[in-house]
């Protein structure tokens, strides 16, 4: 049963939003700071009550201002990972995790160690938060949220307080962890790259309102939604498999679109990854170009051309079962006579794919 949220408020911020997240689904609430996304998360947790709101999960009503229902946060089975983790500083990692368990839970210590192992933190159970790195603290916070046996898991900018190298590792871990999660997961983030790597669906929030909602691929291909986010970085996600690490520093991957050569990607051959290809880094050619420095030339057909308001358009190129997005000028479309159904070649520079644009694919359940 899904998590369903509806909230309306005038103060302290204007809010008029509703969305739902299915069990096992990772929904990203994306928006600028001050857009109201964290307020929506706090509404779910019961830390804030809008003037008019309804929150239900598994058919259980947590908040219904019309019916006068408002469960206190401690009566909602909700797991929250706070932006700065908010670990209990006087407790060890294991005690932090046990603190979220129901009283009288059998073998709390063993369960805490199981959860800490699940988030890749074995052997540090007796450390205090101050003795843990930022990434380790985040893992404890995730384990603590799961110890609550939540009906909904809420992640409030959980990657913003760590350095980028740690962040990449944590992305992979969250993706791996998702195989174990049966509840709806709501991720609040201002980082579109992060949302695209992790989320199944996205809700774009602007000034307290939902401006776009859809699958990650749909939203990321929508210039209007991206403009709402103030970004030009339309991008496609390509699933691929690591084939071999070449001596010259490039890694060969196989995607449905054909082989891809990218700067060294960590992982054993056979590891499934998702590669984020930025639309403005893709060049289209009608004929297969020769003697070109770019290493990746992918043949496909044009599925759609989405005009924006500016001089640019987004061309959706169907390659195998996947889609690549190319951001080119309206003028180029006219010059090349590009139309849906046309055969084209998409050219991607290897060096245009940043390391944090590659992530391990979810483990299939």
């Amino acid at each position: 049963m899904p998590l369903e949220v509806m909230a309306r408020a005038d103060a302290p911020i204007s809010l008029q939003a509703s969305f739902r997240a299915e069990p096992g689904e990772l929904l990203a609430l994306v928006g600028h700071s001050g857009s109201g996304k964290t307020t929506l998360l706090r509404t779910i947790a019961g830390l804030w009550r809008p003037e008019t709101a309804r929150v239900s999960v598994d058919g259980e009503v947590w908040l219904d201002t019309a019916a006068g229902i408002n469960l206190a946060p401690h009566r909602r089975h909700v797991g929250v990972v706070f932006q700065n983790y908010a670990l209990f500083p006087h407790m060890t990692a294991a005690q932090n995790v046990m603190a979220a368990m129901d009283r009288g839970a059998p073998n709390p210590r063993a369960e805490a160690e199981r959860l800490l192992a699940l988030v890749n933190l074995p052997g540090l159970a007796d450390r205090k938060p101050a003795q843990l790195s930022g990434g380790q603290q985040q893992r404890v916070a995730v384990a603590r949220a799961l110890a609550r046996r939540p009906q909904a898991l809420l992640l409030d900018e959980p990657f913003s307080a760590v350095d980028s190298a740690t962040r990449e590792r944590l992305y992979d871990e969250i993706i791996a962890l998702r195989a174990h999660l049966k509840m709806p997961v709501v991720l609040v983030t201002h980082d579109m790259n992060e949302a695209q790597l992790l989320a199944d669906r996205m809700v774009v929030i602007e000034k307290g309102r939902v401006v776009r909602e859809g699958t990650t691929a749909e939203v990321m291909a929508d210039p209007d939604a991206l403009r709402a986010m103030g970004i030009r970085e339309v991008a496609a996600m390509l699933p691929a498999v690591i084939v071999v690490h070449a001596d010259d520093g490039l890694t060969r991957l196989d995607a449905a679109t054909g082989p891809l050569f990218l700067p060294t990607i960590e992982g054993q051959p056979g590891t499934k990854v998702r590669v984020r290809i930025m639309a403005h880094e893709v060049i289209l050619a009608k004929a297969r170009p020769e003697e070109l420095s770019a290493q990746n030339i992918l043949a496909g057909t044009i599925a759609a051309i989405t005009p924006g308001t500016g001089p640019g358009v987004i061309v959706h190129v169907r390659v195998g079962d996947d889609e690549i997005l190319a951001r080119i000028t309206r003028r180029a479309v006219v010059q090349l006579h590009l139309q849906p159904g046309d055969a084209v070649h998409a050219i991607v520079k290897s060096m245009s794919v940043a390391r944090d644009h590659v992530t391990r694919a979810p483990i299939e359940v």
């Binding site: 947790a45 019961g46 401690h74 929250v80 908010a86 500083p89 006087h90 205090k128 609550r148």
Partner: protein, 222 residues
């Protein structure tokens, strides 16, 4: 050495701490977390005993709890004796006079607990009472402990208010501080000296023990 006076002082200080401990925790927590219109006024009233001369404060307490006051009359009717010039009256005065020492440091202690940590406690399924016991109190403990030490030490040393409210009845209201004054008045400088030194030693030990304990708590937290 006036042992009766010393034990009376210790008894008074002990009872004052016992009564003010829950007050300190609940009022300190309330003032730390809640925002309300009259908060500034309440804080000012709580701080008042710090700035008023004890004799002034004692004078008003004498008026408030004397035989002709509603509280004093009620006490007289219920217990058959008056409230002022008794140990109970002294304790009441001591509790009121120590409110600032008991609440202020505890309030600072609770204010030091980050709001996200309290929210995390709620989201971990802890009821407000359980959150207080398991999360807030352990973190605010140094503040609460400081409050209790100040209250204890301050009660031991209080003079003016006790003189106004209690008089100097041996075993009932004659505390060590009053006894020392009496000895000096009677030119028993040796006796006054021994008692003064004892009071200094007790105060020093109390404060040193507290600092050592809170240092240990601090190590446990970090």
């Amino acid at each position: 050495m006036d042992w009766t006076a010393l034990f009376l002082s210790l008894r008074l200080a002990g009872w004052t701490v016992a009564i003010l401990l829950p007050v300190s925790i609940l009022a300190g927590r309330f003032l730390a977390y809640r925002q309300f219109g009259a908060k500034g006024l309440v804080e000012a009233v709580v701080m008042l005993p710090l700035v008023l001369p004890p004799t002034v404060f004692g004078f008003y307490l004498l008026l408030a709890f004397g035989r002709n006051s509603p509280v004093g009359a009620f006490w007289q009717e219920t217990f058959g004796h008056q409230l002022v010039f008794t140990f109970e009256g002294l304790l009441l005065a001591s509790v009121i006079f120590n409110l600032s020492f008991a609440i202020q440091p505890a309030q600072r202690g609770f204010e030091a607990v980050p709001i996200e940590v309290r929210e995390a406690a709620a989201c971990c399924g802890m009821s407000p009472w359980r959150s207080l016991w398991r999360v807030e109190l352990p973190l605010a403990w140094p503040g609460v402990m400081t409050a209790m030490v100040l209250t204890f030490a301050h009660t031991l040393g209080e003079f003016g208010i006790i003189l106004m409210m209690g008089g100097s009845i041996p075993g009932e209201t004659k505390t060590i501080a009053i006894s020392i004054y009496d000895r000096v008045q009677g030119f028993d400088m040796a006796g006054a000296g021994i008692m003064s030194a004892t009071l200094v030693a007790i105060s020093l030990i109390t404060i040193a023990a507290t600092y050592m304990l809170s240092a240990r708590v601090g190590r446990r937290l970090s």
